[in-house]
Symmetry: C2
Subunit: 221 residues, 2 copies
Amino acid sequence: MRYTPILMAQHKPASLPTVKRLPSYLHIVEAALREGKEYISGTVIADELELEPIQVRKDLAVTGIVGTPRRGFPVRELIQCINSFLRWNQQTDAVLVGAGNLGTALLGYGEFQKHGLNIVAAFDPAKQKAGTHMNGVRVYSLHQMQDRVQALGVRLAILTVPGEHAQVVSDLLIQSGIQAIWNFTNVKLKVPPHVIVQKEDLSSGYAVLSVKVGLQNAQDT
Amino acid sequence: MRYTPILMAQHKPASLPTVKRLPSYLHIVEAALREGKEYISGTVIADELELEPIQVRKDLAVTGIVGTPRRGFPVRELIQCINSFLRWNQQTDAVLVGAGNLGTALLGYGEFQKHGLNIVAAFDPAKQKAGTHMNGVRVYSLHQMQDRVQALGVRLAILTVPGEHAQVVSDLLIQSGIQAIWNFTNVKLKVPPHVIVQKEDLSSGYAVLSVKVGLQNAQDT
């Protein structure tokens, strides 16, 4: 029996918070599989993540999974449904621009590979890096970027350059056919409407941490 | 005139999504200040971030800022209110454990310093790193961690070790007096109730990107 990700098929995406929570559900369900479990209940997942069970059930419903009363969700099918909804069972080629510390950290982040992200080339302005390999990925000079991106037919770029170069590099990438940018810089990129930008912003997490630590200190005094 | 962050003073925190959005508001208001503007409207901020104006006004209200009809929010006061609410106008000392690529990237991330995060020491198991400095921060051996953390009286730790060491290092940190952990590993840490954990998870952002790229591909075909 296959569970089709119905909402995706109808081009009706789930809410952003739901999509953001799916990877944490996947972690827990994969752990359950490793422990040999066949079923997992929404309540168990909810307890683990300190969420309401109704929230978990609503979120998982977008993947098309169907639970069994009193037994919960079948573990293998649930993993397949989440991966299918997120398209993590398909391979997506990407290039990475900016092979500094953050870029190198991302090149070595095994989770991405596991989820189909295949970084096929990296680019960096530093001449001494050109021709080397970082975590198995070949680094090219920035001058070769446009030619290589076009030749590879890649549509996704991961941007880890210093902020002051972000817009220029983004423009060049889009000229070369890039249609989606995963932006790790602190710059709000200006892009044409057909280009997707997903911005990672560590200061959001830091804001939450700051407020929590502030409340903790207030309770201590 | 001072705008007191009323909700914080009453220990009634704003919602998590609100707190997460505050840094992006701050970016925009700081840019307005650099352009010499005295007031900025909620609508202008909303347009820039593709949010509803009512959402922006509700979010900003938690900081205690008061807008002026037809003129909007006073720029300087708004910056002060957001920084005060997030406690970014105060210095917070922290240690970083795991001076690999990601750790080094975080040590060099200027935004954190600007917002009061002061990393006073780094720890790494690699012997050749002990005694060196990375982006101005001294690196110590992991054996020195407990003594140094206690001596420094630091309560916040940034965790960038490989996943397999995360729980052990976290336990040692908590024994040494750490009360908040910014967790960049893929491990869900087990900690006593008094300890705060803020988990950064790149796979959430990757999930959103994957779904957006999937919709883009579906539209193209």
